[in-house]
Subunit: 227 residues, 2 copies
DNA sequence: GTATTATGAATGAACG
DNA sequence: CGTTCATTCATAATAC
């Protein structure tokens, strides 16, 4: 409705401003054209905003743990804007000593230790390396789940009730779909700061095609609504 | 700002085009102004391009890994023609939008929404993907329990400390409790300085076809490195 | 250097 | 409401 410069003022593209005794060609934009331009830019702004929102939402779930109580990680979870590494997640890796102690405790048969027990274990293990209660908790959870899964895989329908503690059956393999699309993140906000330098070199940067701006925005100028 | 054509750069904002026996005021853009405009649009185009690329990359994993874990629908393309499917039963996975909304609601402080509230939330979230009231209920329950657990882990602060001089990592807190993990957005919208008036009311009109925007100005030159 | 495995971490759902 | 289970994902570790 506002993107059409229908002969208002006569074309409105190039205007001839007659100086005093000379002809000066200047680029002229009518209000309508200006409005269209603004609209176009606003559309960009909206798109960018929405994309940014989407990006935030998508990354939120994964980066929600922006930083953990990781001890072996020296770099801060949130580096200065100068650095590109925003997500510096490194998972805890138990030291051999910690692993041995954990397995010993697990082998005692006391599955799912209480919170108090977790604290004690954590305190004990902290002497052999950085660790937190969450690590211990997760370790026991995973250990338990893993044992259970192994057993289930070994005896799907077998009546055998005796399971060795060290039963390793390579017959079962899980087709793990190791898909890692996060390896390469094409987005580089830093790079896209001001990449439009090549256009600057052009001396003549305003072609008669200025009207195209309208074309982009006003794809459907008439009959937009039913009725 | 763009709409405000002030005579900066010595080009003159308003030009007086003398018609035949009358004075016609028209908006005039100097080359500098035009260049600024082009730059801004170009910036938007670049940002949009990058964001779209990134978004596609991010979404690619969701679409390809489990087939359809985003919508949780039956439209799984990887289903064998034979008919036997790999138990499409997959636990509900909130879409980024849903997650964002949920977190927002949770952040409001109204823990444990009523049944009626659950219904409302479910209805709202259903606009962004398949979801059921049970999912919302479970989500809130889990969320609450998780927060509580985090507190519990910190609350019992034992005043007794064994080693502190040797501890290089005194901070053991979890930044996860803090909301909005994205504090800093490298995207500098500020440079663009686009008013973007009432675009918010439009809702989401982000269409893939909008990609053509990248060719507003630089449609002819800079045909990429290929060729 | 790439592919595979092992396993820590996250989370929806269920149990009590 | 708190705890636990089952499943999945990402990544350190490892094999190739």
């Amino acid at each position: 409705e506002l993107g059409e410069e229908r002969g208002e003022g006569g074309g409105g593209g190039e205007g001839e401003a007659m100086g005093e005794g000379g002809v000066l060609y200047v680029k002229v934009m009518t209000d309508e054209q200006m409005e269209v331009l603004r609209k176009q830019i606003s559309i960009y702004a909206t798109i960018c905003e929405q994309l940014v929102e989407m990006h935030k939402a998508v990354m939120a779930q994964r980066d929600s743990i922006a930083g953990m109580r990781l001890g072996n990680l020296y770099c801060d979870p949130l580096m200065t804007p100068g650095g590109h590494k925003i997500t510096a997640r490194q998972r805890w890796t138990p030291t051999p000593m910690q692993l041995q102690i954990l397995e010993s405790i697990f082998d005692q048969g006391n599955g799912t230790p209480s919170k108090q027990k977790i604290k004690e274990i954590t305190l004990e293990l902290s002497q052999h390396g950085q660790i937190s209660e969450t690590n211990v908790y997760n370790w026991f959870q995973n250990r338990r789940a893993r044992s259970k899964r192994k057993q289930t895989a070994v005896l799907p329908n077998n009546t055998e009730s005796e399971i060795e503690a060290d039963d390793e059956s390579p017959t079962e393999k899980k087709p793990k779909a190791t898909n890692s699309p996060y390896k390469n993140m094409p987005l580089r906000m830093d790079d896209l700061s001001i990449p439009c330098t090549e256009m600057n070199s052009e001396g003549r940067h305003l072609e008669p095609e200025t009207n195209r701006i309208q074309g982009i925005y006003a794809s459907d100028n008439s009959s937009k609504s039913s009725g």
